[in-house]
């Protein structure tokens, strides 16, 4: 119970203690305090503080020094820095004050770990002042009698403390009041300065941590004076045109100090000052006459002063005053030149433009009032001298051609200039300058030449800006005869100038030598525009225009042509700058080319726009060279063919229009089938016993009307469909062509291929064998033949050989023909067969078409054929030669005639025109 009340009382006490503003004098007394109170400490030094508890608190609050904790700005100080001196005093030590901060507080950690503040102090850390250095003073003259001395110094490092600086000065027996700087710490101004006594000056710096003094400066203030500049400066001109008198007043009396001066002057508009030699103005004075000036020239003057012995400082320059020197007569005559214009003058007459330059101010020495021009005709002594008074700087005269002497005088208020003489000879026949050249020099263009051998009075240098759009405006300049080069001013960069130099002799004038020059070159402002003039197969003629002189910006050293195909490398060709045309060669035909052109000066290049062109596919005359020989060859072939045909007309006629035997004259015409023969088509052996063929004849039946291809005629095809195996036997030899074998083979089964092959190897020719000729009973045998030999031939030959030809021999002949694989052997039957085809009438064709329509494709008919190589070859030849199916109808047409209807056709019922004559 007691303890509780005790704690309540303790808490109440602490609250009062903390809330009390003045613990010592208030109602509540503080429990302790810190020594020292708010110290100022040197940065980096060590520091120890003591917290002393009041005895009263010990008993009442039950607090002791062992419970004290130290804090720096709410940060606990490590307990290693504490030391309990006795039960009421605790100390804290800091080895380096730079770790300190404000506030430093002493606190109590009471029972229950309640932390209560006992006391706090403010710690100020800083540095003692450094010794001020570099003290220097200057005495400024403020007015005629007033001088102030301003001293400056280096205050040294920052002290972090309030540091007072004092400028002190004294005489040996008198100490003056201190000078306290205001707002600054490195300068102070003393107003009551006295001269002629050595004064000791020094600076004191003081703060809470110490004091420092600068080294003393002992000086007589008169030796560090910066006087006011002379006042009321005036400039007056005297009698002499080259002298101006400068007057002024000094602010300082000679009793204080004697002065020396500096005088500077310059021409108005010029920035460079000239100075009067210092030794001329080293003594006290209030005026000075400046000599050696130019007449009629406005000058600006300024003056300054300082102590005569050189101790102290120069004053500022005085205000500037101007003065003009008096006029004088012109010092030289104006440079004169002429431009002779013969184009606008009548014959034998000149228009002479006399031009001269206004004298420069330092030559005119005043205002030029007028020019006096005198012209004397030197070719005629009796001619009067003509005088002209001109106020401008040019004069135009109409003069007959001749030699003239022109004299020019400039006149001002004071007098006349020396005369300038120009000799205008009848012709410029004297020697010119040699080796004319130019060289850029910064913003000037130097023109140099080698003097002629003769003595030259002077040179005239003409130049003008070359322009493509305007005339050349001539500028000129005169150089003395002993120089061999001048600088041309006012030359613009990147512009072309035409420069001409004339030597002037005492008795005439040399011809001009010209050169073109640039002050500075640049790359062209644009590139040449190239285009094609002519494009061939492998070459193209390019053309372009020269750049105008304004576009060139320099000397065009070369043109560069760059051309390439779309995907090819670029080819570069350099072209002489004088050319405007170039032929590109070795181009690829029928190719798109891109070409551009680059103009180059010494300082760069510029490329013009791209131009594209396509080379031609054929060169010039190439088409003609191909077409004409081809045509000629064709004509020659045709001609040869015609000649050949003409020579072989009989042979051709024989093939084209073969001699058809007259059936009426045929032996068969005598034949009458008394006993119809019965054919057994089932056995070849029976039908075609070997050696039973005695003769071969061809029977050609012409069908005049459609009835010949009646349904009966087509029956054999039906038979073919049904009896494929027997179709071979029904193959017609009529037509006599091996080409007819195609339809025959088309109806052969594959099973019969071997048979067919065997047959073809043994029986190559179909023969209609007639046994029982005339008186005998005719035996009609149809034998299949693979021969390509026209039957008509056989017929003819059979006739020619009276039908007694050896069949074996004949067969062998045919075998040779068929066995040959050369084209002649194959062509010939084809050709012959084609001719036969031509005999097939339209009804035959129709019959063939009908055959196809009937549903029996002709294709199967050809399958069996392929098994016979010879027949296949022939078939190919057939297809190649006929290029159509016109052959097929013939073969197809012939088959029915030779199979089923044949027996009927042999019946002598009807005698047709051109047909059989029934016996």
């Amino acid at each position: 119970m007691f303890s509780r009340w005790n704690w309540v009382a303790y808490g109440f006490y602490l609250v009062l203690n903390i809330c009390s503003p003045d613990a010592s004098s208030g109602l509540v007394q503080s429990c302790g305090h810190i020594i020292p109170e708010s110290p100022v400490l040197a940065l980096g030094s060590n520091f120890t503080a003591l917290c002393i508890l009041n005895e009263s608190c010990l008993d009442f609050g039950n607090i002791y020094a062992s419970q004290i904790i130290w804090k720096i700005k709410n940060r606990l100080v490590p307990k290693e820095q504490y030391r309990e001196i006795n039960r009421t005093v605790s100390s804290v030590t800091f080895n380096d004050t730079s770790a300190l901060a404000t506030p430093l507080t002493c606190n109590i950690l009471a029972d229950g770990q309640i932390e209560q503040n006992i006391y706090g102090i403010t710690v100020t850390v800083g540095l003692p002042p450094e010794k001020p250095k570099n003290l220097s003073c200057i005495v400024h003259q403020v007015s005629r009698f007033t001088y102030v001395m301003t001293c400056t110094w280096n205050p040294g490092r920052h002290t972090f403390l309030d540091t007072q600086f004092k400028l002190r000065y004294s005489w040996p027996e008198e100490i003056f009041p201190d000078c306290i700087p205001k707002d600054v710490n490195n300068s102070c101004t003393i107003t009551d300065i006295q001269f002629f006594v050595n004064t000791e000056i020094w600076v004191e710096a003081t703060n809470a941590l110490g004091q420092a003094e600068s080294d003393p400066l002992v000086v007589d203030p008169i030796d560090i004076v910066k006087p006011l500049s002379p006042q009321n400066v005036s400039v007056s001109s005297g009698v002499l045109p080259t002298v101006l008198k400068l007057s002024w007043e000094n602010w300082i009396s000679d009793a204080v100090m004697t002065l020396k001066f500096n005088i500077r002057y310059r021409i108005v508009g010029d920035t460079n000052w000239m100075e009067v030699p210092s030794e001329d103005t080293a003594s006290p004075r209030t005026s000075f006459s400046v000599q050696g000036l130019r007449p009629y020239t406005e000058y600006v003057f300024s003056i300054r002063c300082m102590k005569e012995d050189g101790e102290g400082y120069w004053s500022d320059w005085s205000e500037e005053k101007t003065g003009i020197t008096p006029e004088d007569q012109p010092s030289k005559g104006p440079p004169i030149w002429r431009i002779i214009d013969t184009s606008r003058s009548p014959a034998s007459c000149w228009t002479v433009h006399l031009v001269w330059k206004a004298l420069k101010p330092f030559e005119a020495n005043g205002v030029i009032l007028q020019y006096e021009v005198t012209v004397r005709d030197k070719s005629s002594l009796s001619s009067p001298v003509k005088k002209y008074n001109v106020t401008s700087t040019n004069h135009t005269l109409q003069l007959p051609e001749g030699t003239y002497e022109v004299t020019l005088i400039a006149r001002n208020n004071v007098g006349a200039s020396p005369p300038s003489v120009l000799l205008i000879p009848a012709s410029n026949s004297k020697a010119p300058v040699k080796n004319l050249r130019t060289l850029p020099k910064h913003d000037k263009l130097w023109v140099g030449w080698t003097a002629p051998n003769s003595y030259v009075l002077k040179y005239v240098i003409e130049w003008c800006l070359v322009s493509s759009s305007s005339d050349c405006i001539i500028e000129w300049q005169i150089a003395l005869g002993d120089v061999q080069g001048i600088d041309l001013k006012g030359i613009k960069p990147f512009k072309c100038y035409l420069i001409t130099v004339y030597p002037l002799y005492a008795d005439g004038q040399g011809s001009g030598q010209s050169v073109k020059a640039y002050l500075k070159q640049d790359r062209p402002s644009k590139g040449p525009t190239v285009q094609t003039k002519k494009v061939g197969k492998a070459e193209a003629v390019l053309t372009w225009n020269h750049l105008t002189v304004e576009e060139q910006n320099g000397f065009i050293r070369n043109y560069t042509i760059l051309y390439k195909t779309i995907d090819g490398n670029e080819t570069v060709v350099t072209v002489d700058p004088s050319k405007t045309e170039y032929t590109l060669s070795s181009l690829t035909s029928d190719t798109l080319y891109t070409v551009r052109m680059m103009a180059s000066t010494d300082n760069g290049s510029r490329t013009g726009p791209d131009f594209t062109f396509t080379t031609q596919k054929f060169g010039k005359g190439e088409i003609e060279a191909i077409v004409v020989p081809v045509c000629l060859a064709f004509l020659l072939i045709v001609l040869l063919g015609v000649l050949f045909c003409f020579n072989k007309r009989d042979l051709i006629k024989k093939h084209i229009w073969p001699i058809v035997p007259d059936p009426s004259k045929s032996n068969i015409a005598q034949w009458s089938p008394q006993v119809p023969a019965k054919h057994n088509f089932n056995s070849k052996d029976q039908m075609y016993p070997e050696g039973s063929f005695t003769d071969v004849s061809v029977v050609e039946i012409e069908a005049d009307d459609k009835k010949s291809f009646s349904e009966q005629d087509l029956k054999p095809f039906d038979l073919l469909k049904k009896e494929k195996s027997t179709s071979e036997g029904h193959s017609s030899g009529i037509g006599g062509s091996s080409c007819m074998s195609s339809p025959r083979q088309s109806v052969s089964d594959s099973d019969e291929g071997e048979t067919t092959q065997n047959t073809s190897s043994t029986v190559q020719y179909s023969t209609v064998v007639l046994n029982g000729y005339r008186d005998q009973t005719p035996l009609q045998v149809f034998s299949r033949s693979e021969s390509t030999q026209p039957l008509l031939d056989s017929e003819e030959r059979s006739e020619d050989h009276s039908g007694g030809a050896d069949t074996t021999e004949q067969r062998q002949q045919y075998f040779r023909q068929n066995g040959g694989q050369d084209e002649t052997n194959t062509d010939r039957p084809c050709f012959e067969r084609t001719k036969q085809i031509t005999h097939a009438n339209e009804e035959d064709l129709v019959g063939f078409v009908q055959l196809q329509i009937s549903g029996q494709s002709s294709q199967p008919l050809g399958l069996g054929m392929e098994k016979n190589t010879q027949e296949a070859a022939l078939s190919r030849v057939l297809q190649t030669c006929t290029e159509g199916q016109t052959v097929r109808p013939e073969t197809v047409e012939e088959n029915p005639l030779s199979v089923d209807e044949m027996p009927k056709s042999y019946l002598p019922q009807t005698v047709r025109q051109g047909g059989y004559m029934p016996q």
């Binding site: 005489w171 009551d192 006295q194 002629f196 006594v197 009396s253 009793a255």
Partner: protein, 194 residues
Amino acid sequence: MAAADSPSAALRRDLCSRGIRLAGKMRADVVDLLEAYVEQQGLDASASVAAVEGVPLAAVERWDEQTGTQRLLENLAAYRAFRALLAQMLEEQREQLGEADAGLGRALAAVLLQVSAFAYHLEELLRLESRGIPGEEEDGPPPPPRLSLFEQKLRGLGVLRELAQWAVRSVRDLRQLAKPGPATGAAPSPAENP
């Protein structure tokens, strides 16, 4: 020549030179101050003023026969007197005009400083002469009697006039002392009389 090159000789020469220029400036300033003073005090510039008590007269009959030391001592006595008189004038000036005419007060103070500085120069020269410097209290002028305002003005005019004359004489004295001679204590030749 060797003596001329010694440090003491150089210091003496420097002191003489500086003193000459100081006396010259002092004269110029006193002349200017006289004009301002006459105008300010409403006096006639041609008014005759009796000799100021306690100030030795600048004019002396046998000036050229004086030794250097004599010259220095007379100058020192005169300028010490002037220093006291000018200090009194400055105080009276401030009492009369307050800060109304600060320019005249500043000019008086400046002349007072120059007088003090010149007295310092003279003392330094006497030290170089190895002479004892007389005590100021012993040789100083007696305290001036209490005067009327007009009398104060007239006395001030007299002080300034006498100071201007002394300034001229001091320049000549120091020039005499500055000349290299066998002995500074020897009397100068008659040809060099002012």
